[in-house]
């Protein structure tokens, strides 16, 4: 076991897969010579050379279109969209082309590709560089959606994404890049669609993703001081969605709180809540509480951004409301 940052885990995961499979290539803006604007791809150009690690123009549609065309003809591209907010400039390629092609072609075309992107708030970058857009992706049939919360999961889920025969949107949380965690020796590869219960608890189930996982764990500690034992589930992927794990926990606790960083409307928490309201209604002993960023663009100033994003305190309050 070694300690590694989330940032370095990205490079390590990509390197693991590029070394394993020659058809894996990486391209995006500043990913090569500069090692990425978040320094998450440092060393890859040196290791794999300029035909496999390619700096591109500022042309997100061209980048993702190239990834798609390469994937349909035998390669396994990893493309980077620098900030997830920029998915909006290439959403057509993602939502209309990449997501729909296997289906429209009646299964003729496979698109084994990964699109990595820096997602989420907390960096005081303002409304156009801080969004959490995992719900945009989840709303589009045909995409898999992954968002790790630890360095170990970065490697394991990135490897799984690269090996997956379907297109995967891989959301790296910008505010987690500097965090550290233990990472095992040797190859790591997970299965997509397995949530993890990162804290056991009998009183209430808190489901979280990415940066919200450590915050939910903090909230759980706060609640424990009041004698409330919260189970915390790290979803890890939204598609496939591990409802089995979530449902088992909700059946046990009778209470559900979802913690989303995205703005409120139509977030994944709503999807989870609606599944529970349809399938597990009679297992519930209290309201399903969604803790989210309010339905606003993110403000830039530190004080305002901190007030907008779900904090451990707001999560704990949500749990109390669920139990009230």
């Amino acid at each position: 076991m070694a300690e590694m940052t989330y940032r370095d885990a990205v490079a390590a995961g990509i390197a693991q897969e590029m070394a394993r499979d020659d058809s894996v290539v990486l391209f995006g803006e500043d990913v090569g010579a500069a090692g990425g604007v978040f320094k998450a791809t440092v060393g890859l150009l040196e290791k794999f050379g300029p035909t496999r690690v390619v700096d591109t123009p500022i042309s997100e549609q061209a980048i993702l279109g190239a990834a798609m065309g390469a994937a349909m003809t035998g390669m396994r591209p990893i493309a980077e969209v620098m900030f997830s907010d920029f998915f909006a400039v290439c959403w057509d390629i993602v939502a209309n082309e990449i997501a729909k092609t296997r289906y429209m072609t009646n299964g003729q075309v496979s698109l084994p590709l990964v699109i990595r992107s820096g997602n989420g708030g907390g960096s005081r970058f303002g409304a156009q560089h801080s969004q959490s857009i995992e719900n945009w992706a989840m709303a589009v049939p045909g995409l898999k959606v992954v968002a790790p919360s630890t360095p170990r999961d970065v490697i394991g889920l990135l490897a799984a994404a690269v090996r997956d025969p379907d297109p995967v949107l891989f959301f790296e949380h910008k505010s987690l890049y500097a965090t550290k965690g233990e990472v095992g020796q040797g190859e790591i590869c997970d299965e997509l669609g397995r949530a993890v219960v990162v804290r056991e608890g009998d009183d209430v189930t808190i489901v979280a993703l990415a940066q919200m996982v450590p915050r939910a764990l903090h909230a759980a500690e706060e609640l424990a001081r009041d004698g409330i034992e919260a189970a915390v589930v790290d979803l890890r992927s939204l598609v496939p969605l591990d409802m089995t794990t979530v449902a088992a926990s909700v059946r046990a606790t009778g209470h559900l709180v979802t913690v989303e960083e995205n703005p409120r409307l139509c977030g994944w928490g709503a999807e989870l809540s609606s599944i529970v309201a349809e399938e597990l209604l009679f297992d519930l002993d209290g309201p399903v509480v969604r803790v989210t960023t309010p339905h606003v663009p993110l403000p830039a100033a530190d004080a305002l951004e901190d007030a907008a994003l779900p904090s451990p305190e707001r999560i704990a309050d949500g749990a109390r409301r669920a139990l009230a």
């Binding site: 290539v25 035909t51 390619v54 591109t56 123009p57 042309s59 997100e60 549609q61 061209a62 980048i63 993702l64 279109g65 190239a66 990834a67 798609m68 065309g69 390469a70 994937a71 349909m72 003809t73 035998g74 390669m75 591209p77 057509d92 390629i93 209309n96 082309e97 092609t101 296997r102 289906y103 429209m104 072609t105 009646n106 299964g107 003729q108 075309v109 496979s110 049939p141 045909g142 898999k144 997956d164 025969p165 379907d166 669609g193 598609v239 496939p240 969605l241 591990d242 409802m243 089995t244």
Partner: protein, 349 residues
């Protein structure tokens, strides 16, 4: 806020340029070109009839009048070269040897359809024939064709990607990104703009800052401007050979602008009444199919040989029509099939 201006018909041939030299293709190639054009013409006329009689549902965009371009490339391409086309892509699919029955079946939404009805007329794809899809949202497929070319280059396969699109497509952002990208990485891709002077119901000249929507943009990507008579199969064949050769030799992308005209409306039952009679009759007079027939005859091909081809094609169209009609609706369980590689649509466990 300038008013729409339809280009005068006699603007069309001016500025044409024949990069392939003037040596005519071999006799077998010419017969292949004619056969391909006839297949397209016969197929699409039938598709139009089936649309009018309610058997083709949804929409369909015919390339009647534009056959020479697809036929020329279909004839010049290597079997494993990739084609990327638009919603107006029946011709381009047929040009790669995709059989008529599944294409007709797809238009009719039948089980025998190329994608069992899941794609529809605008999304013809046959990976087996390296027909990598027709795409219905303007612009995207230029970037996707780059990816296939990138992969061909990385794999050293010698394949070329050919990407067809319309004049109107030159004003969308993805066009610009794709052309620059292809040029920067010297990708083996040939971009073919089929300039039929119209977008849906608006003339390209009224919304474009330059006279040649593709060729006048070539220099922005360090490429040569090329304007071709898109209704002349020989000219188009020579240009295709030249551009494919250039790409295969590692010299990078080409951008060709082929002037042509769609005889019918944009889609479905659009009668295309927004075009002047003068313009329409000018272009009907330049119909590539009878003109090429006349050229073949003038250059010594026997009437009988031509007639035999014509009969054979007509029979093939009839056969495809009957086969598609005989096919039932697709199985309803296809609705939730093949969203993901596991064959299903499940997003949860």
């Amino acid at each position: 806020m300038s008013p729409p201006r339809a280009p005068a018909p006699d603007e069309a041939p001016s500025g044409s340029l024949d990069p392939g030299g003037s040596r005519p293709p071999a006799r077998a190639t010419r017969l292949a070109l004619y056969t391909r054009m006839l297949e397209m013409r016969g197929f699409e006329k039938r598709a139009y009839d089936l649309f009018l009689s309610g058997l083709v549902k949804g929409t369909s965009h015919l390339g009647l009048g534009q056959e020479a371009i697809a036929a020329a490339f279909g004839t010049a391409m290597r079997e494993d070269d990739y084609t990327f086309a638009t919603y107006r892509g029946h011709n381009h699919a047929l040009a790669r040897g995709v059989p008529m029955t599944p294409v007709m079946g797809e238009l009719m939404g039948r089980a025998c359809g190329l994608m069992a009805g899941k794609g529809g007329s605008m999304h013809l794809t046959s990976v087996e024939h390296h027909m990598m899809g027709s795409y219905a949202i303007i612009g995207a497929h230029l970037t996707i064709a780059n990816g296939a070319a990138w992969s061909a280059k990385a794999r050293g396969s010698g394949q070329v990607a050919v990407c067809f699109f319309g004049d109107g497509t030159t004003n969308i952002g993805a066009f610009h990104e794709a052309l620059n990208f292809a040029a920067v990485y010297e990708l083996p891709v040939v971009f073919v703009c089929e300039n039929n002077l119209w977008m849906e119901y608006t003339p390209i000249a009224s919304v474009t800052a330059v006279a040649r929507p593709a060729a006048d943009r070539a220099s922005a990507y360090g490429l040569e401007p090329v304007v071709l008579d898109g209704n002349d199969p020989d000219v188009m064949h020579a240009a295709a050979v030249a551009a494919l050769g250039r790409a295969r030799s590692g010299a990078g992308p080409s951008l060709l602008e082929a002037l042509t005209y769609r005889h019918g409306g944009h889609s479905r039952a659009d009668p295309g009444k927004y075009r002047s009679d003068e313009e329409l009759s000018y272009w009907l007079g330049r119909d590539p199919v009878p003109a090429y027939r006349a050229r073949l005859v003038a250059e010594g091909v026997e009437e009988a040989e031509i007639a035999a081809i014509e009969q054979q094609v007509a029979a093939a169209v009839d056969e495809a029509t009957e086969a598609a009609k005989a096919s039932g609706p697709p199985s309803l369980d296809l609705v939730e099939k093949d969203v993901f590689a596991d064959g299903g649509a499940s997003w949860r466990r």
